[in-house]
């Protein structure tokens, strides 16, 4: 009996060992098994996969995709969503891309989303593929800069954007009326068409007990997307554009005078200012900002729909944008092409994006149609102003230049580290030192000015 128990126990342990050691062995064992399985697929080039994997960092595009794109029968769409906080999205995406060649066909990334701040990193690599190879040709209705952003150094285009992101100043009409005596977009624009005038309005707003902006970083993109030189030069030297320095000075001034808050751009403290009870006059954002950041303003009870208008503000700029990139190794090329077409050249879908979602689509035909339609106005959040017409004007000036693959860490890192200076926990030198330290940790190849 005892022996039997001992044998049983030993057998159990052995099972444990085998189970333990089998796991790590599983992956390499799969790879050779995978290759013969690949061959029948290669014999029929038209064969398409059954699973379409999309990597994204939020649900924004997923919502539009599910509403306006009809997935071909028999294909399962698999969303892998990782928030971009602290670079988590890119880390996850990078791991998957580096493993792309070894992954099973159904696990391969077919399409992934990328933002303006780091699109170059993927476009300039072999992990994205030439979209002309899958039969997609960029249409003349697409905005030039969206194509340039998705093209590598040789001009090979790797993806499309479903939106165009000219950004404006979104202001509260009631507060503008109180501060400037007018809420008419033309007059408000005239009152703040330079940064000097904008600062003067901020002082006026403060006198009346209002805030000009609700985040220390609110105006950051208006400056940073107008930079005349990239963050890092050809020899990997970090350089501060005068626009960045100007933003730091302005924010310094705004914090000292109480024109703004120490909250970050995405913080609840800032978005709470969009409620009816909010005291903030201006927000900076493109069309995606409505759905993405201004839900408080659209709250049926505490919101203030119709109390908003947009103007160009002191400096035209663009902010963000989501590009859809074709991943090398995708086995669903037909569906990829289909998705690209749906969200760029399909005027029906683009029209719905404007009419139902308040978006600014990447299709000049649709944009012109709305911009020239006297009956069209945004009542989703604005007072019925034709915002498409305003954005259409701004979109003409967007240029894609001075971008580096380091932009996300540098733009967000600078904001985060300086936030500690603006909220009073450290002095400016220490904040800058912390910023340099962050760069040193993340990209040791960048040469810092102090070193």
């Amino acid at each position: 009996m005892k022996k039997l128990v001992a044998i049983l126990m030993a057998a159990l342990m052995l099972v444990g060992i085998v189970a333990c050691t089998a796991k790590p062995a599983e992956k390499p064992a799969d790879q050779p098994a995978d290759q013969p399985a690949d061959q029948p697929v290669a014999e029929q080039p038209a064969a398409q996969g059954k699973v379409f994997n999309i990597y994204a960092w939020n649900e924004e595009f997923k919502g539009f995709f599910e509403k306006y794109y009809t997935v071909p029968e028999g294909i399962t769409v698999n969303w892998i969503i990782t928030p971009s906080d602290n670079g988590a999205y890119q880390q996850k995406l990078d791991e998957a891309l580096l493993n792309q060649a070894n992954a099973k066909d159904d696990d391969k990334i077919d399409m992934f989303l990328a933002e303006a701040d780091y699109i170059g990193k993927y476009v300039d690599s072999d992990y994205t593929m030439d979209i002309s190879k899958i039969g997609f040709t960029n249409a003349p209705t697409q905005y030039e800069y969206t194509i340039k952003a998705a093209s590598d150094v040789n001009g090979v285009c790797k993806g499309v954007s479903f939106q165009c992101c000219p950004a404006a100043v979104i202001y509260r009409k009631s507060i503008a009326k109180d501060v400037l005596g007018t809420d008419d977009p033309a007059e408000v624009q005239a009152a703040m068409d330079t940064w000097e005038k904008f600062d003067a309005v901020a002082a006026q707003a403060k006198e009346k007990g209002y805030l000009m902006t609700a985040s220390f970083a609110e105006t950051f993109r208006a400056f940073s997307n107008n930079c005349t030189m990239p963050w890092v030069d050809a020899n990997n030297n970090l350089q501060f554009d005068p626009q960045i320095t100007k933003w730091i000075d302005q924010t310094d001034n705004y914090i000292k005078n109480g024109y703004t808050l120490t909250a970050g751009v995405w913080d609840a403290e800032k978005t709470n200012e969009m409620f009816k009870t909010g005291k903030t006059m201006c927000f900076f954002g493109p069309a995606w900002y409505y759905n993405f950041c201004m839900t408080n303003a659209m709250d049926p009870e505490q919101g203030c729909v119709g109390d908003w208008c947009i103007v160009k503000g002191p400096q035209a700029y663009f902010w963000g944008g989501t590009w859809l990139l074709a991943a090398t190794g995708s086995d669903n090329t037909e569906m990829l092409k289909d998705i690209f077409e749906t969200f760029t050249v399909n005027e029906d879908v683009c029209t719905k994006l404007v009419a139902n979602e308040g978006q600014f689509p990447n299709n000049t035909n649709v944009v012109d149609k709305f911009a020239n339609d006297p009956t069209w106005g945004n009542t989703m959040i604005l007072d019925g102003q034709n915002d498409t017409a305003v954005f259409a004007e701004l979109a003409k000036d967007i240029k894609w230049e001075n971008h580096t693959n380091y932009d996300q860490i540098l733009n967000e890192g600078l904001q985060n580290k300086l936030q500690e200076y603006f909220n009073g926990s450290v002095d400016k030198d220490t904040a800058m030192k912390n910023f340099y330290q962050l760069i040193k940790e993340t990209y040791p190849n960048i040469v810092l000015p102090e070193a």
């Binding site: 060992i17 913080d267 403290e269 926990s425 220490t430 962050l438």
Partner: protein
């Protein structure tokens, strides 16, 4: 055993020793594969420059001790960051561990006291263990939400007029550190209580009784009887807690959004290491790991030496006592 062996001679040939090895083999195999080999790889990698810029791999290039040198090079304001973060880690751990051990010891004494004979022990034990079951990240997120600029605590204190609207819990060193210490304390005191209770219950009750009969008060019983006999378990608890403390990561990481606000004063060693892992910088993060390994080993040895020396002392007393009898 003897009887069986003499009864059936055949069984004499069975060597039970090998079963022992077979039973412990799974642990050693798992240890070698998942811990020992990666440990050596970490040390190996710490001598290389290896990281990624975007999707492009830089290195690995052998650089000798350059990574260690870089870690101990002072920055422009003369701070050696790794020392600063090591100090942060120790401060955060001590702030949480002192109340953790004091409260856990008291609770363990109350629960095991035959005099108090507390009812509903199962309930209390479950309750004090409960915070440990929550994910540290979720617990941290809860605290972040509670104390954030738009959170209920800020609103409450503002309503009472204690603070004004510019007050920020996360801009003050002591408040962020206290929050982290409090969370670690709440999460771990239950665990320590259970282990210490097990230790106390392993002590012969007759010793407590005889001490009481000899006229020792409860303080004397604790310091002269319970503590010396509990020392091995206590040292074990302390060393494991310290190792856990050195590796503190999730609570401060989530609470300070990975930045160790304010000014990196709540950034721990593992958060520092994690910063380098963002770009798969195995060289620098390997060097930090090696330093942490040395710190952990050193501190473990010191604590063990100090405390085990102490608990050997009373043992002699006890032996002497017996001899007298």
């Amino acid at each position: 055993m003897e009887q069986i062996q003499t009864g059936k001679t055949k069984r004499k040939s069975v060597s039970y020793a090998k079963w022992g090895y077979i039973f412990i083999a799974p642990f050693f195999i798992a240890y070698i594969v998942f811990t020992l080999v990666p440990q050596f790889l970490t040390i190996y990698n710490s001598f290389f420059e290896t990281y990624r810029v975007g999707l492009q791999q830089i290195g690995p290039n052998f650089v000798g001790f350059d990574n260690y040198k870089a870690l101990f090079t002072p920055d422009s304001q003369g701070t050696i960051l790794i020392l600063k973060y090591a100090a942060n880690t120790m401060i955060l751990w001590i702030m949480g561990a002192v109340p953790q051990f004091v409260i856990a010891m008291l609770l363990a004494l109350f629960f095991t006291s035959y005099r108090l004979n507390i009812k509903g022990q199962g309930f209390f034990k479950t309750v004090i263990y409960m915070p440990n079951l929550i994910m540290a990240a979720a617990f941290s997120m809860l605290f972040y939400t509670l104390f954030s600029r738009v959170g209920p605590i800020q609103a409450l204190l503002e309503g009472w007029g204690v603070i004004d609207h510019t007050f920020d819990f996360f801009a003050i060193r002591i408040s962020v550190r206290s929050m982290i210490a409090l969370m670690n304390f709440l999460m771990w005191f239950g665990n320590t209580t259970i282990v210490l209770m097990a230790g106390i219950m392993g002590i012969d009750q007759a010793l407590f009784e005889s001490a009481t009969i000899d006229g020792a008060n409860s303080v004397q019983v604790f310091f002269r009887v319970t503590l010396p006999l509990l020392m091995p378990i206590f040292v074990y608890c302390l060393i494991t807690a310290m190792i856990g403390g050195i590796q503190m990561f999730d609570v401060p990481q989530v609470l300070s959004k990975g930045d160790g606000v304010p000014n990196g004063t709540t950034r721990t060693l593992v958060m520092y290491l994690n910063g380098y892992l963002k770009t798969k910088n195995l060289g620098m993060s390997g060097a930090i790991s090696v330093i942490m390994f040395i710190i952990t080993g050193g501190l473990g040895a010191i604590v063990y030496k100090m405390l085990s020396a102490q608990y050997k002392e009373p043992k002699k007393h006890r032996d002497r006592g017996r001899n007298v009898q």
